[in-house]
Each structure stands twice: as structure tokens, then as C-alpha cells.
Symmetry: C2
Subunit: 343 residues, 2 copies
DNA sequence: CTGAAAGCGCTTACAG
DNA sequence: CTGAAAGCGCTTACAG
């Protein structure tokens, strides 16, 4: 069977093809009865508008693209659950607003040819992912130069030229720091790359450092170990920290996955959490609640984040001015950091 | 700035527009030097082929669509981690094969207008999701009738007219049953809707029942409680089971989420796992490893599943004959079912 | 190896 | 309220 087009519908309904198009787009110019006949024909023939033709003509596609960046060094088999959760919420938000979502994975190391192509296929782009920020930034500049419409998930900064949606990582880190201090901790280790290359981690680190500063204390360089957001890396970082032989009474992991890896390393060395070491993570992935002991962490509201990203992008597409959004990040205290309770 | 087209490139490279098209599609008919000039112009102007125009002309889009069905009764805020994992692996498989992936969420209760539309936007469709199978089946018949190319994730059955990729749920259930018997369990409860409406659960149930049958035992009706795949539902189902006041020494939950909910309910009633009750789930979601005690379960290989779904669909699109795939499901024994160890 | 021509299926001024 | 016409940007026979 050859493809059914608007001409087939027009023929069956006894009207011209443009009238079919008008009726289907809800034009008020079409007579009610004519519209009925057309809709009936559409049903009978099971016709659907060809989106490619429609998009080509209208110069908009009803599609948004999600470019997901994976750190190329990350574990091949599993995607960070936090990003999966973001992906789910973005997908849902798109569906609710009547947009399709095109997803593609990118590796920062590869060239961005595919992305540019997506810029043609979608009305706008959402950038999502960790990865080296400085490399990432250059790519963003290219997208901007092309006049692409896009928003990004990530740290919200004053000089940032791109509309961003992100959690308040600094306040989250601050809350963790204050909480650990209140538990009596004084020597807080930080697991995660706290350099400018990973601005989320950087902000979390400095939030915690601010809490210490206010208490007249400081983070110590010898208690910071780089780690990327995987269990494996968290495990290795904790081992590294232990190998240094320096004393610490708390570990603030830059993400939950890092924390969970660290938890395993600590346990294997006979250190009990929270009795010997208080532990906190960041993200509040589902696993955080189920590890033993349950993990104190900072919740990032992925549902709201997804909706905000999509809404911001849609406004941008409609030519409205859009500001970046800083979402609150909320401390969730669970057993892994409760030292008072443990004696 | 107005949009750059292949005519702009042609002009700059001093050739005709069709030659640009040929060069960009890798036609061997183009002179090497001509091609160089064209590619140079493409770079300078940052040109990208308009996918809509290209798709319209070629009648194929280089895009696959993933229709994800959510049980409308499911928890709004979270997506089953198992499906998130599938989503991740399908996305990755598409990217690797040079296809874009269009994702949309569907609720089985709503009409399928959107799906048909996707059929026009993508070269093929992947169906994914739990949900009432009988309702789902009718929708599939409609897609078939439209000549849509699609594959589905789900139970593989002989009379199934749709190319399917699924785990061997029966063998998985069988392995769980045999394992629980080996642990000395005799009265095995099953949490999950084991009716024809949920064929995955149904197969898991009957696999386990087969193990009992071989041992001269049987599953008992009073030990089966319906549940859908959420923690909340698993919690409720376990409470329901406990309220019946019948004796049981093991719980086989139809999914890990159900198992995790049940674990909480059991603990709250003072029942210890595995000492008082052995517990097993199904899926091997990341959380299964981190709950306390770690959950015995059946691993579904989502990575392979995603690749197989995409490859099967691509073959279908290329007009090849494609068989369904039954993926092995592997028992993963963890502490939640080890009664011997517990005395 | 390259160009002129037709056409993919729609939408939108332009007339009426 | 409706139709005839042009055109979105590409690809692909068809000539040469």
C-alpha cells in the first residue's frame, strides 16, 4: 500500500488539499461540516500528517533534543542513576507539553558533528552531563555562535551566557558541612575533583569549606582526593585517602555513587560508618536510601529540574527572555552521618 | 542570518546544488577535487544538511522511536529503575549505530494518536513497558495493521506475531524456586500479579511453581498476592500476606521493587530476612545489591537487551526476516535468601 | 563526472 | 469559507 497523503483525504472528503491541511491544524476558517467530513476521512484512512514535510514547511519540528554527555572515562555499562532520573523527568516533561524528545549520547572527546545535525532536527537543545567543564564550555560557544537555541543543566553562574538550570550546590555543600560539624566532626575529607573542571563538585566543596570557615576551621588539602562520579572511583579515592595515613572523622563525597564506593572501601578496612567515620553524599539517588547504613545526602529535585529545563527552552524558542534557575538543594539526613546516636 | 542551504554551498564551491548533495552523501561519482572544495565550503559556512528535507525526500529518517508505556497507576514521580536502565542501553545502542532515538511516554489508558504520529517520524518503533498485556496487545494489532515496523520488549511466545526480545522469565523463576528449595524453604509466597495480564510475572510464577512441582510440592493460592512493580505495592502486598495469617518461609517477589517494599514490611513486623523468611526478587536493579540484606534476584541483561532490540528493528527495517530473542536470565544469589548461613 | 528538472508532502499567503 | 500556486531544502533519475 502506498502512503496516504493529504491529497487522499482531500479526494475522499471532496475538498482541496489545502483545506485538509487547514482543518487538521485547527484553522477557524474551515466550515464545521467540511471539517467533519475531513476528520471522518482521516479516521477511515488512518491518515497522519507527515512530520518531515510539515516541519520542513513550518521550520519547526515540535521536537526537542537532549544531548547527553558522558565522561568518556566512565564505566561503559551503567549510566549514573542521577542522570537517568533527569532523563526520565525531561522525557516526561516533554510529553506533557506535546513535544517529542530526541536523545543522543555524546562523548566530549568526539567531535560535535552529530549535535549540529540535531540542531536542524529539533527546535532546541538541552545539554546534560558531567564531564570536563572547560572542554564543554568551548563547545557551547560554538553552539551559541550558530544561533542554536539551547539550555543546559549545570552550575548557575553570573557570567554564564547560557541559560542554565542547576541545583544550589554551594548551599548543599554548606548544609552538609554544618551538619557534619554539628555531629562533632572536625576533620572532613572530600572525595571528588574540586577543580574548576568540575564546577558542581567545586561548589559543593566550597560550600562545605565555608561551613568550616565559619566555625574557625578549614578543609585540608591532604583530605581531598579526586574522584569522578562512579562507585569504582569512589572506592579508589577512599583507598587512596586511607593510604595517606592522615586522620579524618567524616567523608563528604561529591556524589552518592562516590559515597557508596567509599562506604565499601571503609568497611573493608574495618572502619564503621557512622561510628568511626560519618559519611555524606550528594544527589539522593534511589540507592542512597537502601544502602546500609542509609546515606545522608543532598537531594536534587530532578522532577522540577526536568520541567524547568523544558519550560526554559520552550520560552527561549518562543523568543522570550529567560533567566537561569537555581533550584534549592535539600539536605537529607540518614544514618550514615549520625554520630551522636552511635555514641 | 538566514539559513544556510546546499545552494549556498554550491555557490561558494562553484558547482551545482545536486553535486553538493552527492558529495555530502559520499557518492563515488564526485571528483575528488570538487569534493574537497565542497567540504571546505561546508566547513566555512558551518553547513548541515536539513534532516527534515532529507528525510522527506529519502523516505527514511535515520531515527528510531521508543514508546515507553507506563502503567497509569504507577507512582508519578519515579520510573522503574529497570526500565531506566533499558532506556539507557537502547539509547546507547542507537547512538552506536548512527541512529537518533525519539522517546515518548505513553499511558496505555490514553489513545495512541501520538504513536501513529511517531510512526511517520521514525523508521521504526521499539515498544517498552509493563502494563496490562491484553490491552497492549490490541494496540499492537493496530500498529501491525498500519504496516508499522516495530519490535517489543516482553515475553517471547510461540504465537506472538510481533518480533520480541525478552528474558527467559520461566527459567529465571525456576532457578529461584530451586534455590529456595535448596535453602530448605517449602512454603513459598509469591508477590505479583501472576495472571495473563502480566505475562512476565506469570512466567516467573510458573517457573517457580515448576521447581516446586518437581520436588513434589506446589505453590499455594493463599500465598500469592497481586502487586505491581513498585515498592509501595510490594509493601502493601506483604502486609496483605501477613494479615492472612498463613505460614510461609520464603517470599519470591515478581520484581526487585516489590521485593524491596516487602522487605520493609517484613522488617516492620519483626520478621528477619533471611533468618525467618528468605527473599528473592527479579531484575537485578542497582539497588538490589545495596539493600540490607543484599537481595537475591535474577539478572536481566539490559545491555544486551537494548542492543538486540535495536539490531532486530534495524533488520526489520531493511526487510530481513527477524526472529524473536529469548535472553538468558541468571540467578544472582545474595544474602537475602541464604538461610543455611543464618542457621 | 556534472547539471537541469522533477518531486517528496505539506503550509501559507494570495485571490476569490 | 475555499482553491490554485508557490515553495520549504533536499535527492535522484535523466541527460550529457
Amino acid at each position: 500500500m502506498s502512503k496516504i497523503t493529504s491529497f487522499d483525504i482531500a479526494h475522499r472528503a471532496g475538498v482541496s488539499q489545502p483545506t485538509v491541511s487547514r482543518a487538521l491544524r485547527g484553522s477557524p476558517l474551515v466550515n464545521a461540516q467540511t471539517r467533519q467530513r475531513i476528520l471522518a476521512a482521516v479516521d477511515e484512512l488512518n491518515y497522519k500528517v507527515d512530520k518531515n514535510a510539515s516541519s520542513l514547511r513550518c521550520k519547526q519540528s515540535g521536537t526537542l533534543a537532549l544531548l547527553f554527555f558522558e565522561d568518556p572515562t566512565a564505566d561503559e555499562s551503567h549510566i549514573n542513576p542521577f542522570f537517568l532520573s533527569m532523563l526520565g523527568s525531561i522525557t516526561r516533561a516533554c510529553t506533557q507539553r506535546g513535544y517529542d524528545l530526541l536523545i543522543s549520547f555524546q562523548q566530549l572527546s568526539r567531535d560535535w558533528h552529530a549535535d549540529y545535525a540535531d540542531a536542524r532536527k529539533a527546535d532546541g537543545i538541552i545539554l546534560l552531563g558531567y564531564g570536563d567543564y572547560l572542554a564543554y564550555r568551548e563547545k557551547q560557544a560554538q553552539l551559541l555562535a550558530q544561533g542554536a537555541r539551547f539550555v543546559r543543566w549545570g552550575v548557575v553562574q553570573a557570567e554564564q551566557p547560557v541559560v542554565s538550570v542547576g541545583s544550589d550546590n554551594f548551599s548543599g555543600g554548606l548544609a552538609v558541612g554544618e551538619h557534619l560539624l554539628a555531629q562533632g566532626c572536625r576533620r572532613i575529607a572530600f572525595l571528588g575533583d574540586a577543580s574548576q573542571h568540575f564546577p558542581e563538585f567545586h561548589a559543593r566543596y566550597h560550600g562545605c569549606a565555608e561551613a568550616l570557615r565559619r566555625a574557625g576551621l578549614a578543609m585540608e588539602g591532604c583530605l581531598q582526593v579526586d574522584a569522578e562520579s562512579t562507585e569504582r572511583s569512589g572506592y579508589a579515592a577512599a583507598e587512596n585517602l586511607l593510604a595517606r595515613g592522615v586522620a579524618f572523622d567524616a567523608v563528604f563525597a561529591a556524589s552518592d555513587l562516590i559515597a557508596i564506593g567509599a562506604l565499601r572501601a571503609l568497611n573493608e578496612r574495618g572502619l564503621r560508618v557512622p561510628e568511626d567515620v560519618a559519611l555524606a553524599g550528594f544527589d539522593d539517588i534511589p540507592m542512597a536510601r537502601s544502602v546500609h547504613p542509609a546515606l545522608t545526602t543532598v537531594m536534587q529535585d530532578t522532577k522540577q529540574a526536568g520541567e524547568r529545563l523544558v519550560d526554559s527552552l520552550l520560552r527561549l524558542i518562543h523568543g522570550e527572555a529567560v533567566a537561569s534557575t537555581l533550584l534549592p538543594a535539600q539536605l537529607v539526613v540518614r544514618r550514615s552521618s549520625l554520630r551522636g546516636q552511635a555514641g
